[in-house]
Amino acid sequence: MVPLENYLVLSAIIFSLGVYGVLARRNAVLVLMSIELMLNAVSLNFIAFAAYLDPGKITGAIFAVFVITVAAAEVGLALAIVIRLFRNRATSNVDEAAIMKW
């Protein structure tokens, strides 16, 4: 059986990639995809811990399902905003959408 550490390392790598994407990417859609990466890394962590520490129960799986649900809702909302942004400003670059300030 694959040791728990492998899952954790994988999860950490995926999370870091997500963070990098969020910070480095300028396209709003890619930023959203990076956020999905981070969420999935977290879900993977949940599943791994659940399977290793408490195999009989599905507690971790339920958390993963919740994360997926919330992520779906979040993406639905975020993509709608991105579409409005593109319609109004003809761009999906997050640096250019900077009117919400002092």
């Binding site: 963070v19 910070l23 300028r26 997050v94 959408a97 900077a98 009117i99 919400m100 300030k101």
Partner: protein, 633 residues
Amino acid sequence: MGAEQAWLLAAIPAGVFFVLAIFGRALPRGGDYLGVAAIGTSFLLSFFVLGDLLSTEDKLGPITASIEWSTIGKFELRQGIWIDPITVTMFGVITTVALMVNVFSIGYMKGEPRYYWFFAVLQLFVASMLMLVMADNLLLVYISWELVGVCSFLLIGFYWEKRSATEAAKKAFITTRVGDVGLLIGIILLWKATGTFDIHGIIHAAEAGQIGQTYLFVSIMFVFLGCMGKSAQVPFHVWLPDAMEGPTPVSALIHAATMVVAGVYLTARLLPIFEVADGALLVVTIVGLTTALLTGFIALAQTDIKKVLAYSTVGQLGFMFVALGTGHPAIGMFHLATHAFFKALLFLGSGSVIHATHHNQEMEKLGGLWKKMPITGTTFFIGSLALAGVPPLAGFWSKDEIFVALNDKWGLWAVLILALAATMTAFYTTRLFIRTFMGKPMDKHVHDHTHESGYVMTGPLMFLAFLAVTAGFVVFHSVGKGLGLPGGITEFIFAEHHGPHEYEIDWGFAAASVVMATIGIFAAGWMYWGNSIERSTALAERNPGIYQMFKRKFYFDELYQAVIDRGVLGFSYVVSWFDRYVVNDTGVDGSAQITGFSGGVLKYLQTGRVPNYAMAIALGVVGLTVAGLVVRG
């Protein structure tokens, strides 16, 4: 009814107060009959209380009743009544005078606005005074004390449309308040030392020497400050003459039976403590002597008949304190009682004059009224003689007792001062009478429209005149016995240490007293006979400085006004500076500026760029994690 239910005496008028205050407007004649009925009931009940007291073993009581009011930890607060000869004497004086004033007011206040309200407050006034004299603990005393003050405020300011009336009401309230603060401090100090508010508990503790001398002296002096304020002793006397702004029956009530005698009563009640505290009695005596003398001088130069009477009241209160200063509560209470009757008579008489002359109370416009108002004139004459101390009227006996006791206790110097005051009393009383009732009228128009008042007003005058003649005789053993008392008034009320003593005429002092009264009366007669003011005007013109000093009341009002102006203005200047520069500029504006400034600087953190926020979040997480690891070690 037993004397344990004596609280009814106060409860009945208090209940009628609420009835009149709420429904009085709707009742026919403003419900004045309810007021008379209430006070009348209290008047009758006071005889039952007296009967009960006399049926106790040694005829002196006391009869007590109390209920538990509240318990806080170990401290138990009881409220109750204490009926002893002093209380019963006060009951008699208060209810008699109040009843007469109530009846008189029906005539005097007829057609006045807020007629029902006048009677309502009158009931509350009497009720609180009755409660004050039967309270067995200082807390209840203080509550009734303040109630009396509030009622006097309401009644002095009864004609609140007049600015002078509201000013006088405020002055009375605030001046007495200065003393009342002292009273409160005194009560708290005594409570702190003894752990009880119970008057007799405190007295026993003081007599047993459980309270340190200095501590006791200071606390009893604070209490006495309250008594001075209420009883208008120098330097708190300024409010009483101004209180003449109230309707005249109120003046009669305030000056005779309620309010001002509260201080005398409380001092008499706590006299054992004054005796234990070294020097306290001397203070009482000196305050009384000063007051009697100063107000005697002031009264010489007043031309308003009510003002003259007001200053004579202050002076007579001084006599009472002098009497108490000898350590004999009986003599103080005796003078209080006789004074109450003849001063109520004089005030109601002046009320009758004022009513008849359509609110004229300046001597400059009166004169020659005796023929027009025979009953008022005659009763006023009797009252004046009693005040001047002419035998055998009431004032003579009580003043005589004061002189004898004063000589025994403090010696001749005090007697001489008081004798001067008594002579002046006789002088200005005679002056008042001559200039109001005798000789030629000063103002023909006023004189022509004057008429005798109705029976509802002259009735009380005649009854009080009867008392002014006879009340003094209770000092005699046989008269007291005849009334069912254990003896004369000095055998009925007495301080425990001195014990009862049977009254004997001291012929020397009696003769001196008569001589003083005669000198005063004849001097005034010589100066004013036939209502002529030539001699007095000439005298005043020869000594303008002294005359002005008396006329302007020794500049007490001016002094207080100046002090208040300086003090209040100076203090307000400091307060306004503090408000402007500290509260407003620093506190209010300062905090706003700090907020605005920090907002102005920090707003640049909000760039509007999402990556910046994301970076901040990421760095924050990293930072917190690192910090967590460092702290965990």
